[in-house]
Subunit: 684 residues, 2 copies
Amino acid sequence: MEKFRASERLVDQLSEEKLTSYRAWLQYEQIENQDYVSKIKPFVQHVAVDLACDEIIDNALIEWQTGLSSMFQINASIIKDGSVDKGLVLKLDQDYQEDAYVLRASDDQLILTGGSSRAILYGVFHILRLIQRRALLAGLSIKETPKNKIRMINHWDDMNGSVERGYAGKSFFFDDYQFIKDRQRVYDYARLLSSVGINALTINNVNVHRIETELVTDTFLSDVKQTSDIFNQYGITMYLSINYAAPVELGVLTTADPLDEDVIAFWGKTAKHVYDVVPNLGGFLVKADSENRPGPFTYGRDHAQGANMLGKAVEPYGGKVIWRCFVYNNKQDWRDRKTDRARAAYDHFKPLDGEFNDNVILQIKNGPMDFQVREPVSPLIGELENTNQFLEFQIAQEYLGQQRHLVYLIPQWKEVLEFDTYAKGENTKVKDIVSGEVFDNKIAGIVAVTNVGIDYNWTGHTIAQLNFYGYGRLIWNPDLTSEEIALEWIKQTFGHDPKTIETIMKMVMPSWEAYENYTSPLGIGWMVNVSHHYGPNIDGYEYDMWGTYHFADRNGIGVDRTIATGTGYTGQYHAENRDLYESIETCPDELLLFFHHVPYTHVLKSGKTVIQHIYDTHHKGVEQVEEMIANWDSLADKVDERRHQDVKERLSHQLWSAKEWRDTINSYFYRKSGIADEQNRKIY
Amino acid sequence: MEKFRASERLVDQLSEEKLTSYRAWLQYEQIENQDYVSKIKPFVQHVAVDLACDEIIDNALIEWQTGLSSMFQINASIIKDGSVDKGLVLKLDQDYQEDAYVLRASDDQLILTGGSSRAILYGVFHILRLIQRRALLAGLSIKETPKNKIRMINHWDDMNGSVERGYAGKSFFFDDYQFIKDRQRVYDYARLLSSVGINALTINNVNVHRIETELVTDTFLSDVKQTSDIFNQYGITMYLSINYAAPVELGVLTTADPLDEDVIAFWGKTAKHVYDVVPNLGGFLVKADSENRPGPFTYGRDHAQGANMLGKAVEPYGGKVIWRCFVYNNKQDWRDRKTDRARAAYDHFKPLDGEFNDNVILQIKNGPMDFQVREPVSPLIGELENTNQFLEFQIAQEYLGQQRHLVYLIPQWKEVLEFDTYAKGENTKVKDIVSGEVFDNKIAGIVAVTNVGIDYNWTGHTIAQLNFYGYGRLIWNPDLTSEEIALEWIKQTFGHDPKTIETIMKMVMPSWEAYENYTSPLGIGWMVNVSHHYGPNIDGYEYDMWGTYHFADRNGIGVDRTIATGTGYTGQYHAENRDLYESIETCPDELLLFFHHVPYTHVLKSGKTVIQHIYDTHHKGVEQVEEMIANWDSLADKVDERRHQDVKERLSHQLWSAKEWRDTINSYFYRKSGIADEQNRKIY
């Protein structure tokens, strides 16, 4: 099985048909087009390594050989410490930015110059991607510099083997309160990550329970090291999620007060020991004072004091502390309409701007609530002028159909990245803030909660692989369009048949809109079942303590977040956006109910009333899923049976679920409003 | 610790203050009133056993000595095979019905004559109960014959140690997939059960999972025998819940078809082996074709075929098969308003009347839905003229506050027992049907799901002990009033202080009404959170598959179950009840929304509109809990600290929860109806 060299053991475990799913976008299908083969062959006979080899370069060479042997049945010869006239030449140029690389080709020589071994690895994946997409190499001249220096993945894996909000099977890191000793999956995963430019990850859940608290102790440090070393071989820096209350949880101290001398000493000693054993560790990720997790508030300290204490502990070793801003009151009284969860991140962290250590980074979710199908951009982004920050997305489709629904997420994320905050005047876009450019941050980047698990196709839904792939590609280069990313992925994953490409494009491109259509309308969010977050439950969060309300009554619906009459949340934005959202006249339709409470008869910019919009979009969403199914059915003879069947089954469930959403939402609002559907469609 | 002789080991485990809770109604407090002592002493110095001793008689004597030594500091001398002039004489009279006994006293001799050893045991508990209540014995002349021959308890304990719908801690039978080897709790429990006349029980959940399927195999049969023997020593017959699909689940066969020769042989062999090892086993309890449990439907057979196959298997050993009638479609489409879950038991089992074996008993829940705070009586009761049947209650407060709310259940059960079915003309009451009198059944009785667990007070809520006690007393004699039962229990449990008695009576007597007031109104039921069934969630079951809907819209609420325009459910009752429920004019207020869909402005017999009734009862219910708390607080120096604190904490939570109910229900219906509260109280 040269084709999938890194996974020989898995080849024994997975049937060939399942391996096709497992290979994801690194299919390296044999190329039948001899014209194309002849044009590429000059570049792929030899590879010269004009630099000092290390494990990362070795993996780049393995990948190169794996790809070529599979696509061309060629065993590329490797010339170390030298150059070649024909073929690929790998060079290092330390003047380049660390992850940047240049590809320049004549008719038969291709020079890949990188700023680091990792950049070379990225360059090799780039060339293989070009070949998988049947691009020509002659005359190539490309310079790639990633927009974001840190491009990270967060796992929410628990050591009992479960994955919080995981929809693709159990963890491949942990099982039964231990590391899984067979680490083949970890190698293969590292390879997938680096193929799309990911250079950092955490492996354990931000909710750190008793057992995971011991990850920073000798109980697990040798496992941590082995895992970290695997990722390092692919240019990926590993971090650990830690328990802020570790000194208490481990029974060492009775306090976790960040100003307590013993606590400071505990973390100093812990950090020293961790870095003695795992010198390549990136640092710690912390969820503190959030959803029942302990934190500095317990001791009357603020988040800067908490984070800086940890920052200082890891500083001597070049470590970083990533501190999540997902802090809000999750014991809210639903009767209290003044408290607004949407305000929380800004209210908590804006006043602390400038108080964080240089090696502390605040991690901010893309929206003010929690990864809903539609939210405004978090107003905290652009407001921290002197604080390192990461933007956080969620690839796992927690509120977006849990990888049983096909939802292409890149269009949503692009809206976030392109959003103009006006933080430093017009055209201060999110993408330029989180990249560190606007405020000249030392550390900056984007992070996302992963959607992978031990399922043989990694992501549960085969097409959810696209969100994993697309996330890496988008944060490398936010100027790629959603269409470009999808096309890249389809060609690599499903090949070059024009009908297949066109059909899958027709399925994925409107899929976010479709999901929005048949779920909660006009930016209001939630309306899902409590706790597991799947399926419609309009009042599920309405009389609960999570700060997530719609306030629907027989007359209207929506949350008044205006300064004039509401919670004042709009005031957290810069003037341009504040005014846009404050006025019911200018507020975009898709966010109307997030910002305003309106009657069902309110007329949208579309010309429809709110209630008619609800009816229409909910019918349309179901029709869009029906179209997806018709499209996918038409590919029965174009896609291998296993993947076709897998997707077909999920689409069939999606249709059932979409109808549940449509009928529940429409019935709920009809029963409440009493206003009939203009088109007289069935309401229950 | 003579006082609590049977529990010496537990005495080591529980502190004295917790033991007071653990003793429940068998406190046997020392009697301070010397006048009373002098009147009773003649009867308690000696006990003569004028019959052949067995383990049950031994336990009766132990109980007698335990009670006397604790209350009088007397060590009653036992004279075997003889009589005494002064004291207690135990005699057997086999002409009596098995569980019947007579108590006749002169001035200093008390003769207890029983139909069996068990009857003697009951008689001894009766005398001790009289003494605990400070009754005089001289001149006593009592004949007791239980109304129901079988008086049963069902446990929903799983072998992993959890208790399904258990609110008093884990199982005391099982833990970690094994029987708990220390069986002290089982002894103490058997004693409590026999003290209130329970003579049968199942120890494992009706939902029989993989591991419990093996209870009928050698894996666990010796444990089953040991447990069964303990209960037998207290006159209690033990049964097992079995898995209908056991032949498949155990890997013996590929079918569980009741007409299949191999299946018949499997059960014949299994029954023989079970009875070889456990000859005193009562038989099997079966939940089949219900809530995803397997059953005869899987094989195109009916329930008579399924039950009779098992009945024949245990017949040679005197075994019985109890077959639950809780069969309904739990995959219902909420859009379908024609299917009515309330109809299910009648529709499934009425046509099979007369087809069941003599040793098969159908177990019918008291209402057509599932142990709601208010339901009509199941129309199946009275309709089975040629079938053995048990009535099923639930002592566990699954939908009634889960033993965190104080709810006295006897008033509810009395309404069921006193309900006139008109099955054989006027005055065909439920109590006379389920006792077997109306249709002259060979086997008859009442069963209930227990509310006990490993908590030191058995029932989580101390006052929930009253429901355990009251259940036993009520089904022994359904003509006892709720007040009589509560008084009996209070005196035995909390002593004879008049203020304490009066205060606790004021708390318990209106508690069911209070719970009904602040939860779902007018018989509609449900409105709880899905799955765990605690706390308000008005639409929780509204758009789900469980057949449990309220159909509330902006105009009105309720389920139309009439023949004229609804599901026709009323037609399952005899004419008198059918007409009563069919007409909106005669339908009792408290069941109005169970039978009719009415506008919020519909005027009840009380003169209030439905919506004003909702507002008023929800405020009243909370006030009633506030009164309970005031009452309990006034007993701070009357009740031992531990029990006072335990109850106080639960009452405090109950108040919080009652307010959640009040405000959620009132807000929901105000938002939907738009009709203001006449009294202008706060609605959110």
